[in-house]
């Protein structure tokens, strides 16, 4: 086993702020949208908290973006430019999650600080961080001040469409959270990835070993 420094401090802080914000936004989102199903707080309280954590998330996202762009680490999100290599990598990774993991095969991807994500993670996180979260932020800001952004909302097709996009992404993030947390338990041990997200260091088996 060897220890590698996989998650720098900034990334870890961003991650946990993100994680907490997401949880709060999901819960308050339920309170805003599904009041006829579950009613814990008032609508006003739910909206206020949702707005606060929305802005925290925006701030955090900007921090993350600046860090990754300045440090040059953003490339970890960029899949290989070789289509064949990317498709092969995805199939190999999908085969592992769909078959190999059950028969005790070794994870084809070995995380290093420069190559942190497998091809499937790359395509998923790239979409999430570059497309979905910015879109969620934009729609969130538009919904925060409907009158002030009336022009832009009009361009987007109306408040109903803007909110539908926001809710659609909200549902995606909520459902993805289950997958994300589960996948986080598929490390060398159940808590290895999670521990690494606190310490920065992850214990990985020596190349050639598998458990």
């Amino acid at each position: 086993m060897k220890k590698i420094y996989l998650h720098p401090m900034t990334v870890r802080i961003c991650h946990w702020i993100n994680a907490f914000s997401f949880l709060v936004l999901i819960v308050t989102g339920i309170q805003i949208r599904y009041r006829d199903v579950i009613k814990v707080t008032s609508f006003r309280t739910a909206v206020d908290i949702h707005n606060i954590f929305g802005f925290i998330l925006i701030f955090n996202f900007c921090l993350w973006l600046i860090y990754y762009l300045v440090s040059g680490k953003f490339k970890v999100y960029i899949p290989t430019f070789s289509l064949k290599g990317f498709v092969t990598g995805c199939i190999r990774q999908a085969r592992y999650y769909g078959y190999g993991i059950f028969v005790g095969e070794e994870n084809p991807h070995h995380s290093t600080p420069d190559n942190k994500f497998n091809p499937m993670q790359q395509v998923a996180y790239l979409n999430i961080m570059v497309l979905f979260i910015p879109l969620q932020i934009i729609t969130g800001i538009l919904l925060w001040d409907l009158k002030g952004f009336a022009y832009w909302i009009g361009l987007a097709g109306g408040v109903k469409i803007v909110d539908s996009v926001h809710v659609l992404l909200y549902l995606f993030f909520t459902s993805f959270l289950f997958v994300h947390v589960y996948l986080a338990t598929l490390g060398h041990t159940v808590g290895e990835h999670i521990k690494a997200m606190f310490t920065g260091y992850e214990e990985v088996p020596e190349r050639g070993h598998s458990h």
Partner: protein, 609 residues
């Protein structure tokens, strides 16, 4: 006459006596002149020559004077004889009729004083007549007690006497008389002219104002009949004098009438007369008349609703009160037709303030305007009406209400400030640029046969597909139009029951909840030519339909009108996300033996080495 002859006789006698006296003296003088006969003879001759012609001349001059004296004396004797006759009859009549206490009771128990004012009668144009000149059935010997059913019947009967002197032909010269005579229920002469105190019109007509002249007749209980309707022609002088038009003469409004002309009005019925006469007000109040032309009332009138109010319906005809009176609870004319609305207003914070004496508190015209009366705009243009007075309302709402401007655009003030009322979502086809509702005629033009998609009768109201069709047709023919929505009250009367702001809805949950009562009913509102809105039921499911994502893209309350499609998709996505770890973990659990076997095989292979 005898006195006249007596006097004449006496005068002749005197003349004769004088003649005797002269001759006597002459005789005496002739006895004295016997001594101087020639001298006296000359003097006598000269006297005869001079005095003779002088006496003749004097006699000729006195003759006409004496004749005139005789005629005057004769006439005065004749008049004196008539006076004697009339005064005897009058004295006899006035013996009773001078008393103020004598009263005649008619068959209908109506009472009438039979008192005659001697002074007024003597001043009247008929003072030369004896009582029996008109009251022919009565004489100094007989006073039959006639029985009349009513005072009017008595007046009609007695007025027949007028015809004795005033022939129909003579009366027909005046149009009003001509009209009156031709009617079976014409008022008796005495109704206008009075009875015992009729004065010659030349004596007072010129001095009287036009109004005084008109009121001579019109302050009496006059009426006319038009197509079976009775139109009172009586003007209450007191009310007229108390109106804001008290300084005007009748002819200022009734310009074709004057002290010399009185044409006969021609109109189909009383209502048409009122409508026609409303044009008269325009003469002075052109601005108000123009405002009225732009009102819902004038619009209804133009469409053929002859009961739609015109000037006199609100202001009265001859009793026009001051503006301030119309702004009082008892004086506002709107309550006459809009009674239930007015009752709702009285219960409101505005009505209560008015009742407590706050003269600045709004009343009907404060919101609807006095002349350019518009239909209720509360659900169409929520802010416009209330913000006219509540200028700080927007700022006050911003203090606590997120997206206050948006709320104030989409929600009628009444929706929150009449908390107990039922709500409705009003959908409208509006111009995308101006935001103004597109009127019915334009809408028909834009939609063609597709207009029926909006108005066709359906059991459950318009559905999402209908709205989609409308949206598509609008996009094809008029791209700058869309369907917008506002929240208002179901019953416009309730809009007037505004409560104190401490009772207003402040909880966001009231709207932002799928079970909110604000979204229970939905209608499509189309502005008819008269300004009224026609409402067509819409199935409330359209608010949550994904098909209306584009057609109704601007009306949306988070949590209140959410899309059902996203609800279903959300359940699938979340359960899908949860199922990944569950299924994967289950498979991993089930495949533990495979991995265990593989691990043992591997250990075994490593052990062999």
């Amino acid at each position: 006459m005898s006195r006249f002859y007596d006097e004449v006789v006496v005068a002749s006698g005197t003349s004769v006596e004088m003649s005797r006296d002269k001759s006597g003296r002459a005789n005496h003088e002739s006895s004295l002149t016997d001594d101087r006969p020639a001298r006296f003879q000359k003097i006598r001759t000269a006297g005869i020559v001079v005095l003779g012609p002088l006496s003749g001349l004097l006699f000729i001059c006195l003759l006409p004077l004496m004749s005139l004296l005789i005629v005057v004396t004769l006439l005065s004797k004749m008049a004196s004889a008539s006076d004697v006759m009339q005064s005897e009859e009058a004295a006899m009549c006035m013996g009773c009729h001078a008393s103020q206490d004598v009263v005649k009771t008619f068959g209908n128990k109506e009472k009438m004083s039979v008192h005659i004012s001697e002074r007024h009668f003597k001043d009247s144009v008929h003072s030369f007549l004896a009582c029996t000149g008109c009251h022919s059935k009565v004489s100094m010997d007989d006073h039959p007690s006639a029985k009349y059913a009513s005072r009017r019947e008595f007046a009609v009967q007695i007025s027949q006497a007028c015809k004795g002197c005033h022939s129909n032909e003579q009366l027909m010269v005046k149009p009003m008389h001509r009209a009156a005579i031709s009617r079976s229920n014409a008022p008796p002469c005495s109704e206008c002219h009075g009875s015992h105190s009729i004065r010659k019109s030349a004596g007072w007509k010129e001095a009287a104002s036009t109004s005084q002249y008109c009121l001579t007749c019109h302050k009496k209980d006059l009426s006319t009949s038009v197509n079976g309707e009775t139109l009172s022609l009586m003007i209450d002088e007191k009310l007229l004098r108390g109106s804001v038009h008290s300084s005007h003469e009748c002819s200022h409004c009734h310009s074709e009438y004057s002290k010399t002309t009185h044409p006969l009005g021609e109109f189909k019925n009383k209502r048409e007369l009122s409508i026609a006469f409303s044009g008269v007000c325009k003469g002075c109040h052109a601005d108000k008349y123009q405002q009225h032309q732009g009102s819902i009332h004038a619009s209804l009138l133009r469409q053929g609703n002859r009961n739609a109010p015109v000037c006199t319906d609100c202001h009265g005809a001859h009793t026009v009160g001051p503006k301030l009176l119309a702004e009082t609870l008892s004086g506002t004319p709107c309550r006459k037709c809009h009674e239930s609305t007015f009752e709702a207003y009285k219960s409101s914070v505005h009505g209560q303030a008015k009742m407590s004496g706050n003269t600045h508190a709004p009343i009907c015209s404060s919101c609807h305007s006095a002349h350019q009366v518009k239909p209720a705009l509360a659900s169409r243009s929520p802010k416009a009406t209330c913000f006219g007075c509540h200028k700080d309302a927007a700022a006050l709402h911003k203090e606590w209400l997120p997206n206050a401007d948006l709320h104030l655009d989409a929600i009628a003030c009444t929706a929150c400030h009449v908390p107990e009322a039922e709500h409705t979502v009003y959908l409208r086809v509006t111009d995308s640029k101006s935001g103004a509702s597109i009127e019915k005629a334009k809408l028909k033009e834009y939609l063609g046969s597709g207009y029926n998609d909006l108005t066709g009768a359906r059991a459950n109201g318009l559905d999402d597909k209908n709205l989609w069709d409308v949206y598509q047709q609008l996009s094809e023919r008029k791209s700058a139009a869309g369907i917008t929505g506002t929240i208002g009250l179901q019953d416009c009367n309730k809009s007037h029951s505004l409560a104190s702001k401490k009772w207003a809805v402040r909880q966001c949950d009231s709207c932002h909840d799928a079970n909110s009562k604000f979204f229970k009913t939905v209608v499509m509102a189309i502005i008819a030519p008269d300004g009224h809105e026609e409402h067509y039921a819409v199935n409330r499911a359209v608010l949550g339909s994904v098909i209306t994502l584009l057609p109704i893209n601007q009306f949306y309350a988070i949590g209140g009108t959410r899309l059902r499609f996203l609800d279903i998709l959300g359940i699938l996505m979340v359960f899908g996300g949860m199922s990944v770890p569950i299924v994967h973990l289950t498979l991993r659990f089930l495949t533990i033996p495979i991995r265990e076997a593989k691990r043992l095989n591997k250990l075994r292979r490593e052990g062999r080495r």
